[in-house]
Amino acid sequence: MNRAMFAAASGMAAQQTNLEVIADNLANADVAGFKGAVASFADVNAGGSLGLGTTPTGRHAIFAQGKLMKSGGPFDIAIDGAGFFSVEKGGKTAYTRAGAFSRAADGSLQNADGWKLSGIAIPVDALGATVEKDGRVFIDTATKTHLAAGRIELASFPAPEHLRSLGGTLFAATRDSGSSQRFAPGGDGHPTIEFGMLEKSNVSIVESMMQILTAQRAYEANAKGVQAADEMLRIANNLHRS
């Protein structure tokens, strides 16, 4: 009975994990650049057919493209295709698909949390700026127009699914993801940069709601398993009567 009870309990724990991931996805469904995650599970077998329940085997982000939407920010950029913006803060480098940047006093482009877009500085006298599809940044000043001001480069990884989530839309490189490769956007079949657009999260609310219902029912069914095992223990205890 104990084996049955622990197997059912492992199922409950798995559904709990599952629900946590789905809830996190749902909570961030409106966050631009957010990538939904999935948890995966596999059965635990002690050799042969001795089933011992289930165990989580991992959680990884799904890097499917989110829809691009027009936005009002002066420095909103989105990646159409694979790749990440590389951002820096306090000597650390992180990678993100969220492109809602704004100009800081020192000319750097920062997101809301103060992460700076690597390699770009907008001169202080710039009145406006545009970003081309290939990542080149042009600025207008009071005296000149269309001045080149650097190029936004993107980062790619040999194994992006092994990136570590830093919470929200940020990711960090790991040993398993491999080191980042910098590349210039634009060109044949390459990802492009869309200026004045933001990438919506790739979480589907309808799908997440469905996943929640399924997880909840599965949790209930597993709880029934624990109950049944407990009930049978009670019956077994009643075998011996005084």
Binding site: G11, F41, S49, I62, A64, M232
Partner: protein, 192 residues
């Protein structure tokens, strides 16, 4: 009496199988174990065997998700699995969630620049087939989808109820036999 004890053992095995199945209702590629109880000269004996019903195909849109339609399994490292959720590692090798390499017809499948896996499992480099996800002939592969566990929660809940009631019945019979014996012992003593 031993027979009733064997019935209780069988019911317990049935419960263990059912809870194990239920626990894996979200494990992609998992195939439920079916338990059957048979009457032998040692009493009731429960045995477990695998099932081969196709699980539901869940669309994911990920390039390296594969669902097997029909027989066969993926070879990952030394093991076999029906779970087709693969990722690449930093050297481009295709691995499963636990880091086991996917083995194709000509060795581990590696995706370098310009290499892709076609929907039918062929690994193409510049238009030439260099490797292939090995599956029995007649089996189709669907990319961008996963095979969900073939566990049916309703069926397993029913199994649990059945096992529970069988266990209860066996216990009642055991108690009844025990009562009879108790009576016999007491009455025989009184007769003397």
């Amino acid at each position: 009496m031993q027979w009733m004890a064997s019935a209780m053992h069988a019911a317990r095995s049935q419960l263990e199988t059912a809870t194990h199945n239920l626990a894996n209702v979200s494990s992609d590629g998992y195939r439920r174990a079916a338990s059957s109880v048979a009457l032998t000269d040692r009493g009731l004996v429960a045995s477990e065997h695998g099932t081969f019903e196709q699980g539901a195909i869940r669309h994911t849109g990920r390039e390296l998700d594969f669902a097997i339609l029909g027989e066969g399994q993926f070879r990952v490292g030394k093991d076999m699995t029906r779970n087709g959720a693969f990722v690449t590692d930093r050297n481009g090798f295709v691995t499963d969630d636990r880091g086991r390499k996917l083995i194709g017809a000509t060795g581990p499948i590696q995706l370098t620049a310009g290499t892709t896996v076609a929907a039918d499992g062929a690994v193409l480099r510049e238009g030439c087939i260099v490797n292939r996800i090995a599956l029995p002939s007649g089996t189709k592969l669907q990319s961008g989808a996963l095979e969900a566990s073939n566990v049916n929660a309703v069926g397993e809940t029913l199994e649990i109820l059945t096992a529970q009631r069988a266990f209860e019945t066996a216990q009642k019979v055991l108690v009844a036999i025990d009562d009879t014996r108790q009576k016999a012992v007491n009455d025989v003593v009184r007769l003397k």
